[in-house]
Amino acid sequence: MSFSIRSPKDIAVGLFYVGLGAAAVFIARDYPMGTAGRMGPGYFPSLIGSGLVLLGLTAVLRSFLTEGDPVDRVHWRPLLLISASIVVFALMLSRLGLVVDLALLIAIAALARNDARLSVVGSACAAFLIAFCAIVFVKGLGLPIPLFGTWLGA
């Protein structure tokens, strides 16, 4: 048996568990531990964090012993663009207002596709969707979002 990584997926996830668990335990040092009978705020997180570290180590160990799948390729374009579309939406909500901000959200999200292009049908649907949201959420349900934000003179 050669000593090599047989399951790259397992080792990646295992390291994620170890990292998260260790971070949780590390931060929980600031919280009083208490005792098992009278637990402080640090007791439960340390317990769970340590458990997660152990699980992670098991996964790492297993990745050397059993065969597993290789890691799938991470596609950065949809990951970054979809995340960016949401972040920009939140950032600009009060500045641009719902109408323009939704258009921005849809435009950035549309770019996430490899074959993104401007289409009449798509634009019409987007316009309909924006009108629907403005009427239902702002006018109907009274969500405190301006239709046009501070940058647009409201």
Binding site: A12, Y31, V71, I82, A109, R113, C125
Partner: protein, 498 residues
């Protein structure tokens, strides 16, 4: 039971005015339930002021309609686009979405609708007959019983996962840690808030669910072929066959029983019932390997449990004035503004309110069935839209819905973060469902554990000396044994072979 009061209730519920508001309620509820991210809590808090101008029973009939209508609508989105907007529909999404991908969305939706209707009817009857004794029974549940129930729930959530056992435990652990963010109930200390005041009350469930399921799924879909629509296969079977109905009967009945019982517990019982039902059906099934790949029983059971629980969760509120979830707390707020302090006296002093609301719930369930069965065709068509039109729509609704939780942009940023996490977890074959259940149950488990130990002066023996608690721990241990048994046996076999 005083029949003159029931008569008053019948007259109230069947007045044209109240039927109209019941219809408005269930219609609105279905609509917001279907829209991802927008849940009953946000909607009811926004509509609360409107109800101030109504009679209190009319207001409550409408609000109740929104609540159970949203439960109904929520399963639609969970099945069609894998977006559970409610903790209870996390389970429905697992097999419902797989059925939808096989082209059996119609069958899954009809199963959910019929199961919910049967469960709703039985649960309403139970409330009418046994509400006060059931409420007293619920109060017998103290901190140790809740703790043991949650342990049982966590073990059941391991059964939910169909992939690697190790990762199921890992995801539960990650969820437990995420659930700890915010102020610790027992000490008042802030944990893992990183100086963000927005995190002091913890991360909202909807934010995590929308991110992991909704956004994560969108990113994952976009990185596959650009041609696919959401439902890859041709749509078959809009309605369940007779054989399907026969297959559903057992799960629906068991789900209803579980949901009705657990629903009366104010500490999150309704939500636990849906995955208790899933775990039970998976254990009872002679084809457990189908679960996670589109088992009809995996939709029928939890959906019935969920809806029965949603109905019986009214019991503590109507009979004791104790809200079993945030929606109920809002309804109590609405009654208080009307000058009615919900409590044990409501039943006798306000028969129109008490019985009117209960009877209207059954009317509402009929309306939901009539409203939803014909709509199934429309829903199924909607998700066969090209994906490039569908995903921006989901994105828009998720973003606005998440904002509406606290009227805060912060929650939208968090959702983006969980979206990215959800995508990466998918890349590593980690399922989001156990994470979500750990997230919900973790803080409750800690809260009840520490409260029990405070009350028993640090003596853990109470968990096994109280019979209900002991019984649940035994069931949990047995369930865990059945999960591990095949695993251990297999390991042994491997060892012998080497």
């Amino acid at each position: 039971m005083d029949f003159s009061n029931v008569e008053i209730g019948l007259a109230t519920a069947f007045s044209a005015w109240n039927i109209l508001y019941c219809l408005i309620g269930v219609f609105l509820g279905t609509a917001i339930g279907v829209l991802p991210g927008l849940g009953p809590v946000a909607t009811i808090s926004m509509l609360l002021p409107i109800t101030f101008g109504l009679e209190p029973e009319t207001a409550l009939i409408m609000l109740a309609g929104i609540y159970y209508g949203a439960q109904y609508g929520g399963s639609t989105t969970a099945i069609l686009v894998n977006l559970p907007g409610e903790s209870a529909s996390v389970v429905t999404a697992i097999d419902g979405y797989q059925l939808a991908r096989k082209g059996q969305a119609g069958k899954a939706l009809a199963t959910a609708a019929i199961g919910s209707f049967v469960a709703g009817t039985i649960a309403t009857l139970l409330i009418a007959l046994f509400a006060p004794p059931l409420a007293d029974m619920a109060l017998e549940f103290g901190p140790p019983e809740y703790f043991s129930l949650i342990v049982l729930g966590l073990v059941a959530s391991v059964v939910l996962a169909h992939g690697s056992l190790l990762h199921a435990f890992g995801m539960i652990g990650v969820g437990l840690l995420l659930g700890l963010v915010g102020i610790d109930v027992n000490s008042g200390a802030s944990r893992y808030t990183f100086e963000f005041p927005q995190l002091t009350d913890g991360i909202n469930f909807v934010v995590v669910a929308m991110g992991l399921f909704g956004i994560g799924e969108i990113i994952a879909n976009l990185d596959r072929s650009s041609e696919r629509t959401l439902l890859a296969k041709k749509i078959t079977d809009l309605m369940p066959s007779l054989a399907d109905l026969r297959e559903m009967f057992g799960p629906v009945m068991r789900g209803t029983a579980l949901g009705s019982l657990l629903g009366i517990l104010p500490g999150g019982g309704a939500m636990l019932s849906s995955f208790a039902s899933y775990a039970l059906e998976k254990k009872l099934s002679n084809r457990p390997q189908d679960f996670g790949h589109g088992a009809l029983a995996g939709v029928a059971g939890p959906e019935s449990a969920n809806n029965a629980g949603a109905q019986t969760s009214f019991i503590p509120m109507l009979t004791l004035g104790i809200p079993s979830n945030p929606v109920m707390a809002l309804m109590i707020g609405a009654l208080i503004v009307h000058g009615i302090q919900p409590g044990p006296s409501v039943m006798n002093e306000q028969p129109a309110l008490f019985w009117g609301v209960i009877i209207s719930m059954w009317i509402g369930n009929v309306m939901l069935l009539v409203l939803n069965l014909p709509l199934i065709g429309l829903w199924v068509k909607m998700v066969s839209l090209p994906y490039n039109l569908l995903y921006p729509t989901i994105l828009v609704f998720c973003s606005i819905g998440v904002f509406s939780l606290n009227n805060a942009e912060f929650d939208i940023y968090l959702m983006a973060l969980f979206g990215a996490l959800g995508y990466l977890l998918r890349k590593f074959d980690c399922e989001p469902a156990p994470l979500l259940l750990g997230f919900i149950l973790g803080p409750m488990m800690e809260e009840y554990l520490r409260r029990t130990l405070l009350l028993s002066a640090g003596d853990p023996a109470v968990f096994v000396t109280r019979p209900i608690s002991l019984a649940m721990l035994v069931v949990a241990a047995l369930l865990l044994a059945t999960v591990f048994a095949p695993f251990i046996v297999k390991k042994r076999e491997e060892a012998f072979q080497e």
